[in-house]
């Protein structure tokens, strides 16, 4: 098979219109598994969190985890879905060693949540992503492929399977086809995954860590010639494991499919794998037909009929959702769209809000988190929230600034001390002897010394060259180790030299 030429992205978009579809799997953060009491701790030793139920041993019977159903209903409600009145689990039959019982308990034609939507924003434009369904299933085990090209399936001689993950509650969220995103298709896909992650995180039902696999995206892409009425054949790129990869995989698949179609080729409906290193996808197995899974109602589990009262109770417990929250903080903090975007992208909304809750004004709280602390987080290569400083401590520093006990320069030194593990703000201030010299008498004495020691400069100021006073202010700041109020020092210098 020859490798078809990729088409340049802009040309591909000039000729073809992409249609997207995204399936997202989210592991719920329940204490126990979906149908048994095994724990769900991430990173446990292999096969230490398995039992007869999740190993599919003869005679074992599953029982549904109530908290998982509560979790999926919350997700469904947050996605504006209808929660159906009655539905069943289905058995999805397939032979693959990631499930020891040769089937996965899932839902087929009776998903628990249907017909929702989620709005996302890209470059100032809002896209309403329609949600087809949200259904409940169980996660599969993890395989380690050994021999041949180690770690890859190709050429593997055998596989070692750990079933700790098998049976962890998994929610699958499926969009309807997303048309008319044009050249923004990769950005829309990424924005959707980002917004979905924020939404689920706000519900507290999953840690949604893509790098640990508790959120995974399968991205469907098809192309149709511009102006065509019928959608093209789609491919499904599996297990795209970062937000950036969601964007790159869509872009790459558009370039590849356009190349194939332009060469007169045909797109095969298949599963593809995304490779982080090359940013390209390669063909996986041809997609099974749904009928090959021989779905049938799960005989070991009775139907679910969530009471309407329960659903409404859960609806009432939903927290403020991310979109509403963004609108609120934008108004409360007086942010432009761009400023809001920066705060959101920096992951600073929670931190600023918590700092404001502890008494800081919003402008100052945002300034510290977005400038000084963001800079330090970037330098250390960590997320803002991972810095060893709390919103309470930031609020305390700002309180000292507001009271005139610290200036901005000293405040930065306090942050440095706190981040270096020297203790809380008050301890750092005390240990480093940081304090604005606010005593006028003390400041005046320092100024007199500086004037006496810089007679030539002082004479220039007396002669009317006010700009020269800067050198004297600098000398005062140096003499006070930065603890003087520079503006006040300047006033006093000019006063003393008769230049004010």
């Amino acid at each position: 098979m020859t490798t078809p030429t990729l088409m340049d992205y802009d040309e591909a978009l000039a000729r073809f219109e992409p249609v997207l579809g995204i399936e997202t799997h989210i592991e719920l953060g329940t204490a126990s598994k979906m149908f048994c009491g095994c724990p769900t701790t991430f990173g446990a030793d292999p096969n230490t969190q398995v039992c007869p139920v999740c190993l599919g041993l003869p005679g074992a019977l599953p029982v549904t985890n109530h908290a998982a159903i509560e979790g999926i209903i919350k997700i469904g409600l947050a996605l504006n879905c209808e929660i159906v009145e009655w539905c069943r689990f289905a058995r999805k039959n397939y032979f693959y060693p990631d499930m020891p019982k040769n089937f996965q308990i899932s839902q087929y034609d009776e998903p628990l949540c249907v017909d929702g939507h989620l709005e996302v924003e890209v470059e100032g434009e809002t896209y309403r992503i329609e949600i087809e369904r949200v259904h409940m299933e169980e996660d599969t085990g993890k395989s380690l492929h050994v021999g041949g090209a180690t770690g890859r399936i190709q050429g593997a001689e055998f596989s070692l399977v750990d079933y700790n993950r098998a049976g962890i509650p998994l929610v699958e969220i499926v969009t309807k086809p997303i048309p008319a995103t044009g050249e923004r298709a990769p950005l829309v896909a990424r924005a959707y995954a980002t917004e979905l992650r924020e939404l689920v995180r706000s519900l507290g039902v999953s840690d949604v860590r893509m790098e640990e696999g508790s959120m995974r995206c399968d991205v469907n892409v098809s192309l149709m010639p511009r102006g065509a009425a019928e959608w093209g054949t789609r491919t499904e790129t599996k297990n795209v494991n970062s937000l950036r990869s969601v964007e790159r995989s869509v872009r790459s698949e558009i370039e590849r499919q356009a190349g194939v179609l332009a060469d007169g080729g045909r797109i095969v409906q298949e599963t593809r794998h995304f490779h982080e290193d090359t940013g390209r996808t390669t063909a996986g197995r041809s997609k099974e037909e749904a009928q090959d899974y021989r779905y049938f109602p799960e005989p070991d589990l009775v139907p679910m009929a969530p009471a309407r009262e329960w659903v409404e109770e859960l609806r009432a417990t939903l927290p403020e959702l991310p979109a509403a929250r963004r609108r609120r903080v934008q108004a409360e903090w007086g942010l432009s769209d761009l400023e809001l975007r920066d705060v959101v992208n920096a992951g600073a909304v929670d931190l600023i809000e918590a700092t404001v809750a502890r008494g800081a004004d919003a402008g100052a709280a945002r300034k510290w988190w977005m400038n000084e602390l963001s800079r330090r987080a970037t330098a250390q290569g960590v997320e803002l929230a991972e810095l060893p400083i709390t919103p309470e401590q930031v609020a305390r520093v700002q309180a000292m600034v507001a009271a005139g006990e610290l200036n901005d320069k000293l405040a930065r030194q306090v942050f440095e001390g706190v981040l270096a593990g020297e203790g809380g703000p008050d301890e750092v201030v005390a240990a480093r002897g940081l304090k604005v010299v606010s005593d006028e008498g003390e400041l005046a004495a320092v100024i007199d010394e500086v004037i006496a020691g810089n007679a030539a400069v002082a004479d220039k100021v007396r002669a009317g060259k006010v700009a020269a006073a800067g050198a004297l202010v600098g000398a005062v700041m140096k003499a006070t180790r930065g603890q003087a109020d520079a503006a006040r020092a300047r006033e006093l210098i000019l006063e003393k030299l008769g230049a004010s």
Partner: protein
């Protein structure tokens, strides 16, 4: 017309990882055809107002609390495995169709 074709039986056998010879396919296709035809007679009497039954018990909403119970010790979990290595189930190389 038969209720299931020989090709369909061969396909099902492949999905079920059953290696059936030609003789067996002939034999089973005929048998399955009879079984399906017999079961299909139920559909003839099922009227619109009789919902399909998927469970013998008239129960809904059977749940357990989200509580952790002890898992098996790894040696017992692996005891029934045909092969094990490094506390994991060892299985033959993954199917070619995945490559």
């Amino acid at each position: 017309m038969s209720a299931i074709t020989r090709d369909e039986v061969a396909h099902l056998a492949r999905l079920s990882r059953l290696a059936l010879g030609d003789d067996e396919l002939d034999h089973l296709a005929a048998q399955l055809d009879q079984i399906i035809s017999a079961v299909a007679r139920v559909q003839e009497v099922a009227a619109q107002d009789i919902p399909p039954t998927s469970h013998a018990l008239p129960l809904t909403n059977v749940y357990r609390a989200d509580e952790v119970r002890p898992s098996l010790p790894p040696d017992r979990a692996l005891a029934a495995a045909p092969a094990a290595q490094d506390d994991r189930f060892r299985v033959p190389r993954i199917l070619d169709e995945e490559a």
